[in-house]
Symmetry: C2
Subunit: 119 residues, 2 copies
DNA sequence: ATAACATTTAGCACATAAGCTAATTAATTA
DNA sequence: TAATTAATTAGCTTATGTGCTAAATGTTAT
């Protein structure tokens, strides 16, 4: 899950289209194939590039393999971009929900913390 | 300045390096060339790809051509990514500065407004 | 076991992209 | 105007990437 791999993967139009298709949830490979005029193996390869980049994850359910976005990679990419912008335009995570004082041990994971230091 | 061109431009390592070099301000082409082991024409071409994508702008000062980031393209890209994330992880613009009531005609330009609708 | 379907892998053809050197354009100075 | 420096464009070679078809793999059902 490097910026190198993520940005390269995002650089292709078909792969961006796949990413957008998965925006609202997982989808079996065959459903993804259906939305392209390309042959299935071509799209299968795009899927594997996305997977190697860490942009998607898969789970098998019977015969079907479901693809879903792994948001962390997209967040990492957004953070890389954010690091290039001055504070005025800077993109930042939305204001965190109020911490529940009752359960202090359960930290809400902030996906930005994980990557901000990396770049 | 399309997502197509921007993401393709960002997909190359040398070009990302150039982008990072320009993070804190403009720089003449020759200074950029110096930081690479590649021949100047090779980097010059990368610069033109970045320019065509709208990621950098140039100004000539005498013999030198200064390159600088055009933040709008990066913001557009960040917004595309943002649109793929659920509200929880969503990246958003930092809270806007308080509007100066004394000078209501001078709107602080919000670079996000310009692109959010596009994706 | 084999048939049927979903998906990936292999191997090849073609297009695009990145690198180089040489030549050109543009501005400055002698 | 000629020389010098900055930068780009032209033309070429090679590497990488994307597409295809055919074959292989994996799972389920008969």
């Amino acid at each position: 899950m490097t910026i190198e791999a993520i940005s390269k993967a995002i650089g292709d139009e078909s792969r961006r289209k796949i990413i957008e298709m998965l925006k609202d949830g997982e989808m079996p490979a065959s459903s993804i194939f259906d939305q392209f005029d390309y042959a299935a193996p071509t799209i299968s390869r795009h899927l594997s590039v996305l997977k190697e980049a860490g942009i998607v994850i898969t789970r098998r359910k019977g015969v079907y393999i479901y693809y879903a976005l792994d948001k962390e990679a997209l967040v990492a990419m957004a953070n890389w971009l954010s690091s290039l912008l001055p504070p005025t335009n800077q993109v930042v995570k939305a204001a965190p929900k109020e911490r529940v004082a009752r359960a202090p041990k359960v930290k809400t994971e902030n996906p930005f913390d994980k990557f901000q230091s990396e770049f």
